[in-house]
């Protein structure tokens, strides 16, 4: 396959960026999207140019590092797929592919396609954990968890923290991520004592980071590589709203 890529190049946070076109020839349809970029970078390096900086780590769809907006869609055209798990066979010979970084005012661009996603870490730090002492590992089945809750916790816990939801949201909202992280703890017995405090703290941090509010559009769920359901936002809203009027915890 011979393709053209248009890539956002930006030297550092302060520099202005722009889209730059490159031709990449001899791509195998079995290459992953990131391997295609590796080929481009070999080409650039050989020509004495700066390679394109992009985030990646596991390359098997579990770490949440890869983060490219491909033709305007976070993680590209395939549903339930991270950028690293996207293959070139989903594109056609001769295609022009536009590649941009996640865009959110809360994600400063560090270089080219790499953005700083620490804002998401700070939301977790604000409450996405359990601090109630739970003792040593309990006997299996000593604490019963209804199947429904276990499933829901698992569905929410699979969030890999990539930030695609934020990149895709017309409001730049981080509520799908925040909802997933609050929800997987909030439906399990260990997460109950701090459930309401957690919801308030995480939502406050979400807003303090400058993310927008959720208007229930659902673009986030269309790009989420692990299929986090929109319900997690309603769960979080319900926890916040029921926590607001309480005088004590």
């Amino acid at each position: 396959m011979n393709i053209t890529v248009r890539i956002w190049r930006q030297h550092d946070q302060a520099a202005a960026g722009r889209m730059v076109s490159y031709k990449v020839d001899g791509i195998s349809p079995d290459m992953s999207f990131l391997e295609m970029l590796d080929v481009l970078n070999d080409q650039l390096t050989a020509a004495g140019d700066d390679p394109v900086a992009f985030d990646h780590d596991c390359r098997e769809g579990i770490c949440g590092m890869c983060s490219l907006v491909i033709n305007g869609i976070a993680h590209g055209p395939e549903a339930l797929t991270t950028t690293c798990q996207l293959y070139m066979r989903h594109f056609d010979d001769g295609d022009t592919i536009d590649i941009e970084p996640w865009r959110s005012e809360s994600f400063p661009i560090l270089r080219d396609l790499i953005v700083d996603r620490s804002a998401m870490d700070r939301i977790i730090q604000a409450g996405g954990y359990i601090s109630a002492p739970t003792g040593s590992a309990p006997d299996a089945a000593a604490t019963l968890v209804p199947k429904k809750n276990a499933d829901r916790a698992f569905d929410a816990a699979v969030c890999i923290g990539c930030g695609a939801c934020i990149a895709a949201c017309p409001n730049g909202s981080g509520m799908l991520f925040t909802g997933a992280k609050a929800n997987h703890l909030g439906v399990l017995p260990q997460g109950q004592p701090e459930r309401h405090e957690r919801a308030l703290a995480m939502v406050n941090q979400h807003d303090a980071e400058g993310f927008g509010g959720c208007t229930q559009i659902g673009e986030c769920t269309a790009v989420c590589p692990v299929g986090i359901p929109l319900d997690v936002i309603s769960f979080l809203n319900a926890d916040v709203l029921s926590a607001l009027p309480r005088k004590t915890d």
Partner: protein
């Protein structure tokens, strides 16, 4: 959890986007209840002048003599006005936050011209804000026309029935009304679903489907209920 100042956390959360959306949802639902009652009133036009003007007079007599003349109506008006103001305040605050979060560009912040409409968002969902502004402007014009009798296309009258019948014989009055109702239809299609989801009701795939169907049904009832009287007047069935 080291959140320390619990009261501070609460007062910050009371200004969070979640709280503002809840305020917008509750006030939006109050406005919808009003719209349903208003629609019922409009349909009284088919009972003729006596029925319609009688209903208008009755609205001013509710709970009399417990309340003074038009007392109940004024209580409703104050609740409604407070809802409108809170709804608009929240809408603009959240609008501003979304713009700041996306460098002022919202869903159009990527250089590419591909997939500009996103993957699955609906037309209704991305016309909420400008559509809301259209509705707001229409409401002002509408009050000046049919409530305050300040502008009087077709001729002023002390009779609400006459004002309505006079007004809706003019094509552009009907047209502006229809355009505003279409804007309202889109606003309600997304708004009713969104309101319940903002309040925490969207808890399963089944509920999500139900809420979306509910939004469509309520939107259609309101749309048809409001469209029938002016169109009937325009067609000359009511005169």
């Amino acid at each position: 959890m080291s959140t320390g100042n619990v009261a501070g956390v609460r007062s910050t959360a009371a200004r969070s986007s979640v709280a503002l959306h809840a305020a917008m949802a509750v006030t939006g639902l109050i406005m919808i209840l009003f719209l349903l009652a208003h629609m019922y009133g409009n349909l009284k036009v088919f009972e003729g002048q006596q029925g319609f003007d009688g209903y208008a007079a009755y609205l001013r007599e509710i709970a009399q003599p417990l309340l003074p003349h038009a007392g109940a109506l004024w209580i409703l008006r104050v609740i409604l006005l407070a809802s409108v103001l809170l709804h608009i305040f929240s809408a603009f605050t959240l609008w501003h936050r979304s713009r700041s979060a996306t460098g002022g560009k919202g869903g159009w912040r990527y250089e590419t011209t591909k997939n500009r409409r996103g993957v699955q968002r609906s037309y209704a969902s991305f016309t909420m804000r400008w559509g809301g502004v259209v509705i707001g402007l229409f409401v002002i014009y509408h009050l000046l026309h049919l409530s305050a009798d300040v502008i009087a296309p077709g001729g002023a009258s002390a009779s609400p029935y006459q004002r309505m019948v006079n007004g809706f014989q003019i094509w552009w009055v009907v047209l502006s009304y229809v355009i505003a109702l279409i804007a309202l239809g889109f606003h309600l299609r997304h708004g009713i679903w969104s309101a319940f989801a903002s309040l925490g009701a969207n808890k399963s795939v089944g509920t999500r489907r139900f809420l979306n169907q509910l939004a469509t049904v309520v939107m259609l009832i309101i749309l048809v209920g409001f469209l029938v009287p002016p169109l009937a007047i325009f067609a000359g069935w009511v005169s």
